[in-house]
Amino acid sequence: MGLTKRLSGVHVDHRKNTAGMPIIPMPVPEKVYIPMSMHIGAPCKPLVKAGDTVKVGQLIGDTDARIGAPIHSSVSGTVEAVIQGMTQLGKTDTSIVIKTDGKQELADTVVPPEINSFEDFIKAARDSGVVGLGGASFPMGAKLNIKPGTVDYLVINGAECEPYITVDHAVMLTYTRDIVDGIKAIMKWLQIPNTIIGIEGNKPDAIKAFNDVLAGDASIKVHELRQIYPQGAERVIIYECTGRKVSYGMLPLNAGCIVANVSSVLKLQHYLKTGLPLVSKYITVDGNIVVHPQNVEVPVGTMICDVIEFCGGLKEEPKKIVLGGPMMGRAIPRDDLAVMKANSAILCFNGAFAGQRKETACISCGRCVAACPMGLMPAKISRAFRDKDVEMLKEYEVLYCMDCGSCAYVCPARKPLNFEFRQAKAMVMEASKK
């Protein structure tokens, strides 16, 4: 207890079937559907119309909002239509449909940005179109726009603690030097003295790759994380790497930290180096029915079913397709939806895997209490939620839940605990408004 307490978590089968596989670029599909809302913050307004010719990296959507990220064409071709339709986020949104010409010609605007000041750097971070690629999709330009010199730690997230996903691992091995260059650029312009790269211990080759590149650099360290989910959760990785605590109602900035995913830093660095914004995503395609599980580079806006087809299709009828890891990823109702910037995995499962689990009574076994990295008591919160008891929900601090799903993972009664807690949090917020 006390100072030496380590955050809990759960041991989940790694199932890193695609570990060690290279990232294969996928040929451009016939059409891409690029959504105008792929990030936290204001959606973009389309800047092109049907009939326009576009090239790779061309700006096709933008917003004036402070929190937002511009959107660029991932292909060269002709805009077929600007449509309203369902996106993978489950809501109707504007998307730009582009018929590709297969030439993948670069736009004239794709030239390395000239950076001479902090303002230039923030503009570049914004123009890169990069958002938090660990899943949060917070715009990079907004994240880095702080007062220089006010942050002491840049925490780089290379934990990849979700099962199945291996793209970050592949990226760390393939682009080690680029990631380090990206880190140095951020450190330089934001005047951050220290960087800690957190990597889970199941990727010793990635740890070694960084240590080799960094040799002798005292300001950037690699921290080996324990092999336990969710080491990659923002609050957890900050605590593990720096010992600082960030909890509900706080930003990493409040603890003097900025956290960025390795892939986000890499995409930013690619923009700084080449001027090519974020137009393609590295994605692990796996699950238990994909013919050729692998890591692919996919143009943003490619339909998920096209990506699956490129991986050889499926061995049997899918019942569940998850975007992201199985612990926190989102199950989508259909696969004719576009790949977005923050997607890191497409996992396809058959009925045996996806089968509805029967919920039984809570037996107070305490597994959820032992598992919660935030030190909460999920069994008690669940009971308070069932009783619609807002006071108890507050007493058991449901707002500190970060929705990692560790409790529901271990629950032998198969209770959808974190799902309940999302509703419980809404109840508490609603009650505190009154």
Binding site: D13, E30, P163, R235, Y239, R244, K245, V246, S247, Y248, M250, N254, A255, C305, D306, G313, E317, P318, K319, K320, V322, P326, M327, M328, R330, A331, I332, P333, R334, D335, D336, F349, A354, Q356, R357, T360, A361, I363, S364, C365, G366, R367, V369, A370, P373, M374, G375, M377, K380, Y396, Y400, G405, Y409, V410, C411, P412, A413, R414, N418, F419
Partner: protein, 325 residues
């Protein structure tokens, strides 16, 4: 054009779960009880197995029946009723009339468990209340111990003088008679309730449960340690006190019942210490020779308070001026 799938299952994350479910946990408890059952059959004969099967059948039947009458889901598949049946059987003398055992099963399953809402809702351990009800309702039959030649010579000697009572080690201790050796106590070559006699077999089951992560060691260790320490305080032989009566069965299989014990590790340690404390106080000062079931029942009642006392606080920076910045 790639093949499209438009009727996928949408569910909230996580999409994977740990292998253990309620039924598999209960199955592990049943497996862990097998060594003690085997010793019981060896010492008491085949009647022991008959009693075990009867109690399981009664408990499962009552569970099925009462849920049917109350128009609730059938829950016999979670195996919790079977566990209650077997543990209750372990708590009664092997020659208890079967109908009395059925009464105990009825009280455990219908009154203590289902009338409070079923699995997870009962505040007291059903098997313990079943045992206490039998103990009070049928005091004679519940204290009539089977003696046979497989047991320690010390017990046989006592049986010659008094064939019906006083032949359990705790009774013999109270009467100041020569006791079985500690090795005989440990192995279970003694009389007593049919499943409580062999500390060795119960410990084996306990180790299985801990290795399988079904139970945490917190309650058994704190319970047994408290009994041992208090034995020394009262000038008693700790090995004898640990092996005699229902301490092992209680500490490993009954005090660890999830539903009726605290949910946090610190709470479980307090709970175990309380169980050990009351067990020894009853053994030393009360008029009953044995106190395990009363001790556990008392701690069951305190469990909600212990849970509140040991409530976890959320991960957050120390308030104002602490280590946060």
């Amino acid at each position: 054009m790639a093949e499209r799938h438009t009727d996928l299952i949408v569910a909230s994350a996580p999409h994977v779960c740990a292998p253990a479910n309620t039924a598999s946990i209960m199955r592990d408890v049943l497996i862990a009880l097998v060594p003690a059952l085997a010793v019981s059959v060896y010492v008491f004969g085949i009647r022991s197995l008959v009693m075990a099967v009867c109690c399981i059948v009664f408990c499962v039947f009552f569970e099925w029946l009462v849920r049917k009458i109350m128009k609730r889901d059938n829950t016999i598949g979670d195996l919790s009723a079977a566990v209650t049946g077997l543990i209750l059987a372990f708590n009664i003398p092997v020659r208890l009339p079967i109908w009395m055992a059925a009464v105990g099963c009825f009280i455990a399953i219908v009154v203590v468990k289902q009338l409070f809402g079923g699995l997870g809702q009962n505040f007291a351990n059903p098997a313990i209340v079943g045992r206490i009800a039998l103990f009070i309702g049928f005091a004679g039959p519940m204290a009539s111990w089977t003696i046979n030649s497989r047991m320690s010579q010390a017990i046989l000697d006592v049986a010659e003088i008094d064939a019906t009572t006083g032949a359990t080690p705790l009774g013999m201790l109270a009467a100041g008679q020569t006791l079985p050796s500690n090795l005989e106590m440990f192995l279970g070559l003694i009389s007593g309730s049919m499943g409580e006699i062999s500390a060795a077999a119960l410990l084996l089951g306990g180790i299985y449960l801990i290795v399988r992560k079904v139970i945490s060691p917190a309650i058994p260790v704190s319970f047994l340690a408290t009994v041992a320490v208090l034995s020394l305080v009262f000038g008693l032989d700790p090995i004898f006190q640990l092996c005699a009566g229902g301490v092992m069965l209680g500490a490993i299989f009954m005090a660890t019942d999830y539903v009726t014990s605290p949910i946090t590790t610190s709470g479980r340690i307090i709970f175990g210490i309380g169980c050990g404390l009351f067990t020894m106080l009853i053994r030393v000062y009360a008029s009953y020779p044995e106190g395990v079931s009363f001790a556990i029942l008392l701690m069951n009642i305190l469990t909600p308070h212990i849970d509140r006392l040991t409530r976890h606080k959320a991960f957050k920076p120390a308030p104002e001026g602490g280590a946060a910045k």
